[in-house]
């Protein structure tokens, strides 16, 4: 795949719910094809930042630009063709098969009247192959393990064809092997040229799989850089308020 990832520029971004500042003055530039992980304690504003970035909420101040174009000037369907978001979990009301779920990723491309075209079917097949779950295509999703389900959602995002893949805690509920499997998948997506942005709680895994970490705390961006730089013992103590020895890989 020769397609290049999406470039994101966030400048002076602030978000306020009622009297609470959820995000304050965030400046963040993510280059095309980068793989970046947002880390930080609960309530630091990681998910809110993702919501601003994907156009789900409008920031109170500042703004987001995709490839230099202001996000609020881009239509929702166009955003959906540029940014694929992997949900951290989905409640399905009906029994569905893997390929049917992955097919839903093609919604932003489908013609409202004619439905899925050959191109859509090819994209679904390619996504299943890229994520390595072709053999699951006919299975009912509820027969799958949590790890397999997460891969199905990643495949749906790949089928969606976004040049940026966003994941909010993709490894929650997964055992170590499946966490590694999902995160290795993300490195392959950046190998394809896509930009990948994830939120993770597991600091050692984040440090291992992402060349660049961004640490948020209390709605502010407190550190941005290589894992060893960002996750210094002093910062672990300040931000997470735990003894840095609990993060052995970094100690």
């Amino acid at each position: 795949m020769s397609e290049r990832g999406l470039r994101i520029d966030i400048e002076g971004l602030g978000l306020r719910y009622g009297q609470t500042d959820v995000l304050r003055d965030i400046d963040l530039h993510i280059g095309a094809g980068e793989r970046l992980c947002l880390v930080g304690p609960n309530g630091a504003g990681k998910s809110s930042l993702l919501r601003c970035l994907t156009g789900l909420v409008d920031p109170t101040s500042g703004g987001v630009a995709l490839d230099g174009k202001a996000l609020d000037a881009v239509e929702r369907s166009a955003i959906a063709r540029s940014i694929s978001v992997v949900p951290s979990g989905v409640d399905l009301p009906f029994s569905m098969r893997v390929e049917e779920v992955v097919q839903l990723g093609r919604i932003p491309h489908e013609n409202p009247f004619t439905g899925a075209t050959d191109e859509d079917h090819r994209a679904v097949a390619a996504a299943l192959a890229r994520v390595g779950i072709e053999e699951l295509r006919g299975r009912d999703v509820r027969e799958l393990s949590m790890g397999e389900r997460q891969l199905v959602l990643v495949a749906m995002a790949v089928a969606q064809g976004g040049r940026l893949i966003v994941l909010d805690e993709p490894t929650v509920h997964l055992d170590l092997r499946h966490q590694v499997e999902v995160l290795s998948m993300l490195t392959r997506l950046t190998d394809d040229g896509l930009t990948v942005l994830a939120v993770l709680h597991d600091l050692p895994l984040a440090a291992h799989f992402f060349p660049r970490l961004v640490l948020l705390d209390g709605g502010r961006l407190v550190a941005d850089g290589a894992p060893a730089e960002v996750l210094s013992p002093a910062r672990i103590r300040d931000v997470y308020r735990v003894d840095p020895r609990f993060v052995p890989a970094l100690a």
Binding site: T54, G55, L56, R76, S77, A78, I79, A80, R81, I83, S84, V85, P87, G89, V90, D91, L92, P93, F94, S95, M96, R97, E100, V101, Q103, L104, G105, I107, P108, E110, P112, F113, G115, E134, E135, L136, R137, G138, R139, V141, R142, R149, V152, L153, Q160
Partner: protein, 359 residues
Amino acid sequence: MTTTDLARQHAPVRRGSLEALRRRPVVLGLAGLLVLAVAIVAGVGLGTVHISPSETIAILAHRLGWGAEETWAQSSETIVVTLRLPRVLTALIVGLGLSVAGVTFQGLLRNPLADPYILGTASGAALGAAIGVLIPIQIAWLGLGLVNILAFVGALAAIALVYRVAGGGGRSTMTSILLTGYAVGSMLAAGLSLAMYLSGSQLRQIFNYLLGSLAGSDWQSLLIGLPIVITGTVLILARARSLNGLLLGDDTALHLGVDVRRERAILLGLASLVTAAAVSLAGLIGFVGLVVPHVIRLIVGPNARVVLPLSAIFGGAFLIIADLGARMAGELPVGIITAVIGAPIFVMLLRRYRTGYQL
């Protein structure tokens, strides 16, 4: 080993005719049209006066302007054209409309237990019809009785009230709309009980409406109801994509480019309009809008683009056949027949499929 081999190896139970239909839903659609055609001919031909299938087809073809020598008695043609055909076509439209509305409500509410009546339309229509029965003056407009008109208005008023109270235009979830629908429905049902209590000798007329019947069908009301149901159905079909996106919940639908708030309002409005037209034509006929979409979904999977047209075809055929059964059993209310057939199917489905799960 190729992918297909792997798929077979991993899914050994997925063979047989049902799986073939799932892969080729068009075949199921054609089969449905055939069933529908047979149901129409049977529905028109069978009754206290039997008219043979060939004669029925000849009369229908004649009416459609396809030649055919007139070899039948004039009385047969009268029975077919003025009595049975409007009734069969009304059954078709009502069954089709309720099934399409059922698919839409189930998808919108992300709730497999939803049916077209879930947001208070049934109680609203029933209260409207009861008021129509109780008002002592006879008003007819475009050939529609006051009962039909007030049932239609009542159904739409109920859903509009639910939508307003739940704040449907804002950030309200479908759960709050569902709960509001239940509350408003209960309130309207109380009004209906009061109307029935006060109705005296007219109780039976209200009761007939509640049970649902196609006995009162005629061309005039059909020709008013038909365009509403068909237009609503076509417009819903054109939004199948949004309905599919909404299966995944609001946030994921937004991420897939679905304007959730707008699409939800439009789909809710269209499905309510179709439901209102159906209940004003035939009263409250249960289980069609609940069971038909489920059976179809069970065979072809949840893709609304496939489920909607198939539910329309089979829903129409099902109600024609149920109404035929009702007539053969000496004019039982058709709602009884659909419930007798539908309830066991529904229980069976519930036992096989638990209502939702995590992915």
